[in-house]
Amino acid sequence: MEELTPAAAAIDIRNRLRTSQAISLLMDKPPRLPMGRYWMVRLYVALSVITNCLVAWFEPASLTAQMLRANPTGWWLLSILCVLATVTLADIFINDWLPPQYSFPHAREHRHLVYIAIAIGTFCLTYAILKERGYTALLLTYWVDAGFAAGVAALDLFARRREFA
């Protein structure tokens, strides 16, 4: 076998180490946080969206219900928001609360997109209400929720990537 110089040997060891690390990264599941960050805020955002949908469904005098009577296409947006909120709840339940052997990796990997979609959807809902009825201070509740959703999307993305780095 060819004798390696010390420098070449060092490079060889480094390359082997790199390969073994790459293999272990490929084989192993990504490390898991002991308790997901911001799960309480995420739970609040999901429950708030579901509450808004239920209020629109069961309370005809609500702002959303009045807007939906004039623009029935908005039910599609409300349905999409409901689906996103359900995905969020499943993410919190499986990835944060259940033991580590249970995981929902797709929801965890694309969590930031789900939350930013919730924020955009909520703003779209208020845009339709604004166009239909004009400004009312009741819209502030939607905007606060959308702001929280966008904030948690950005914070969670950075926290997750920093944790896995």
């Binding site: 703003f123 339709a128 604004l130 166009k131 966008a150 990537r161 780095a165």
Partner: protein, 139 residues
């Protein structure tokens, strides 16, 4: 040199956004006096466009941090690229929607899609001009 050139491009882009939107708004107001462009809707559409640009930005940051964990290269420029693109395209979409009296959902959809594509397009354009700085390899 490349960073200076990119900054100049972004400054030019910013003024294009501002002047184009003002020019289109003024044209809309002068050609169709009955068409009012309400300030509250304009502000909310600005917020929607910003959030759509933020969605493109978060997607890009996620991709960047997945491949190269560590601090982002030139984060201010990184954000500005996306937001200017989304404001430019979203502003134009809003003005077009108002002018053409689109349905509210068509207007919202147009704004979201336009601002997302605008953010992605400007980011791709800037990346072509000045690729991300090469960072040290992972150990």
């Amino acid at each position: 040199m490349t960073t200076k050139f990119l900054r100049a491009c972004l400054q030019a882009l910013f003024w294009i956004v501002v002047t184009t939107n003002f020019a289109l708004a003024a044209t809309a107001a002068s050609l169709a006096p009955s068409t009012s462009m309400p300030l509250d809707q304009a502000l909310l559409s600005f917020v929607i466009c910003t959030f759509s640009g933020v969605a493109a930005l978060l997607r890009r940051i996620d991709k960047e941090l997945k491949t190269n964990p560590g601090p982002l290269p030139r984060p201010a420029l990184f954000c500005a690229m996306h937001l200017f693109g989304s404001w430019l395209a979203g502003g134009l979409a809003f003005v077009a929607g108002q002018q053409q009296h689109f349905d509210v959902w068509a207007e919202i959809g147009l704004m979201i899609v336009a601002s997302y594509i605008g953010a992605a397009w400007v980011e791709a354009f800037a990346e072509k001009l000045s690729p991300s700085t090469p960072r040290e390899e992972m150990p």
